[in-house]
């Protein structure tokens, strides 16, 4: 297997867009191609995360339309669907195909128009990521899954629910503070100075989660250019290397032993660490799938940054804020930046790459420039998990 690098990334602003999924993907793709300095004829395959283009705009089979729009000839294009994890799954596959030597350069990213669907229908389609027969039919939503996880966490670790909600509020305060400083974020220049009470007293979304415990629905696209480490040198002096990848799966929530200790996430993150020959202590900067405040806490434990039951204290104490270690979601995360689900994983990579080049927006840039970063992306009720470990130096 060859070493693999990222030579370009692009991201549209997240929020509400009057553009199609193809247009959002292509905007991000062309930005990534321009940054990488690759020509259309250099790209050999397109891997695109897109979860609901059929429901959003009546578009299936989006791959060919991406290739056609970008004038990439007749190269193969494949849509990847792993709910909110789709783009990370696409990038992991791009990694594998490039590492194997089958392709030299792959365009991998994602797109989504979830905000444009409106809350009731978006909630309906998102809930389709659960087991349709035994979970979706009950009326469970994703806020519901993480509301249930919060109550379970409170019970298991004997943290009174009120106290836990205060600790959870710090996830929202931290991520919105960062999102407010990120020009590509849905909530740019908004909610940069939340207080615990603001989060607790916001409108209830799914008890005990308020609106501010949740990420929003979003439209947006993001893309990356993946190539071998050797070829990367022809295009850029600043490649970012993919040091490890992991992916994991699990069935319906009931069959998972403990929804506060998601086994699929443990499996995926451990696979990525093993692959990279690194551990949680090596990570300077982390993009975590903070779809809900409780979700970030659970993830920070499952990846191995904190002991079980200690993630809530860690965020309250500021251990994952700027100056802490690892810094979690310096770009605002899903909560502040937005969550166009098919694109999210590629946007996480975009952030880590920008951080590693010292080009992140003011207030988002981690100092000193991070050497090793990681992304964590979750699809459904822990049904699909994927992790990428990125580094400034080749091993």
């Amino acid at each position: 297997m060859r070493d693999v690098a990222i030579i370009g990334t692009g991201q549209t602003k997240f929020g509400r867009w009057d553009k199609s999924n193809t247009e959002l993907f292509c905007d991000a793709a062309l930005e990534a191609m321009e940054e990488a300095n690759v020509d259309q004829k250099d790209i050999e395959a397109v891997y695109a995360g897109a979860v609901f283009p059929g429901f959003e705009e009546g578009q299936c089979n989006i791959g060919g339309h991406l290739v056609g729009s970008l004038h990439l000839g007749n190269i193969p294009a494949t849509r990847f669907e792993g709910a909110c994890c789709s783009a990370t799954v696409a990038i992991r596959d791009a990694y594998i195909w490039v590492a194997s030597g089958f392709y030299d350069i792959v365009l991998a990213g994602g797109t989504e128009r979830a905000l444009s669907m409106g809350t009731p229908f978006a909630t309906k389609t998102f809930a389709m990521a659960n087991d349709c027969k035994y979970e979706g039919n009950v009326g469970i939503t994703f806020p519901g899954v993480f509301a249930m996880a919060a109550r379970r966490y409170s019970k298991i670790y004997d943290i009174p629910l009120d106290k836990l909600r205060e600790k959870m509020a710090h996830v929202s305060m931290k991520n919105h503070k960062h999102g407010a400083l990120n020009p590509l974020a849905q909530f740019y220049q908004k909610m940069g100075n939340l207080k615990v009470e603001d989060v607790l007293n916001a409108r209830m979304a799914c008890d005990p989660l308020t609106l501010l415990d949740c990420c929003p629905f979003s439209d947006g696209g993001a893309a990356t250019i993946i190539t071998s480490a050797d070829i990367a040198r022809r295009y850029t002096d600043e490649p970012v290397y993919i040091l490890g990848v992991g992916q994991g799966s699990a069935g319906h929530l009931g069959a998972q032993e403990d929804i506060t200790k998601p086994a699929s996430r443990v499996f995926s993150s451990r696979s990525a660490f093993k692959h990279a020959g690194l551990g949680p202590k090596d990570i300077d900067i982390m993009e975590i799938h903070d779809c809900f405040t409780s979700a970030e806490i659970i993830a920070s434990e499952a990846i191995g940054f904190f002991d079980w039951g200690k993630g809530a204290d860690a965020v309250e104490e500021g251990q994952t804020d700027m100056g802490g270690r690892p810094v979690i979601n310096p770009d605002g995360g899903l909560m502040g930046k937005g969550h166009p689900i098919g694109a999210t994983g590629a946007a996480q990579v975009h952030t880590i790459v920008e951080e590693m080049k010292g080009k992140a927006p003011k207030g988002n840039q981690v100092d000193p420039v991070p050497e090793i970063g990681m992304t964590d992306t979750l699809g459904g009720g822990f049904n699909t998990l994927a992790h990428l470990i990125l580094g400034r130096s080749r091993r």
């Binding site: 389709m128 349709c132 009326g139 109550r151 019970k155 008890d207």
Partner: protein
Amino acid sequence: MKEYYVLTAKDFYDGLKEDKLLGLRCKECGQITCPPLPTCQWCGSKDLEKTELSGNGEILTFTLTDVPPEGFEPHYIVCLVRLDEGPTIMGRLDYDAEKVTVKYERSQELIGKKVKAGHIVLPADKYSMGEKLVPLFKVV
């Protein structure tokens, strides 16, 4: 071709309609799988037989849904219940909505409470392959 499912989703729903909670007993490890799968959820064996469960269990966690998917009426309670026979399943909880919110100080005390399964029928939608049969738990 051999059909591997000893109990399908349709069979499971048909059971629920009569307030029978159906599952599978593993002939290798003796444990119970519910809802149905083609393999034992504990050991992976395909050697399974249909069995009727007691419907008894305890609440692991729950939530009140204020923002439901299109086609669902708020405000209903979703819960995860660990059945006495071992597996955990999702269902609705028939309970006072006021008492499952954070505003009610003792709401967490519901966790661990014993429940028994019945069922509710929710209307079909475009995607649901007919009406939805959902376990409905009542505190006993």
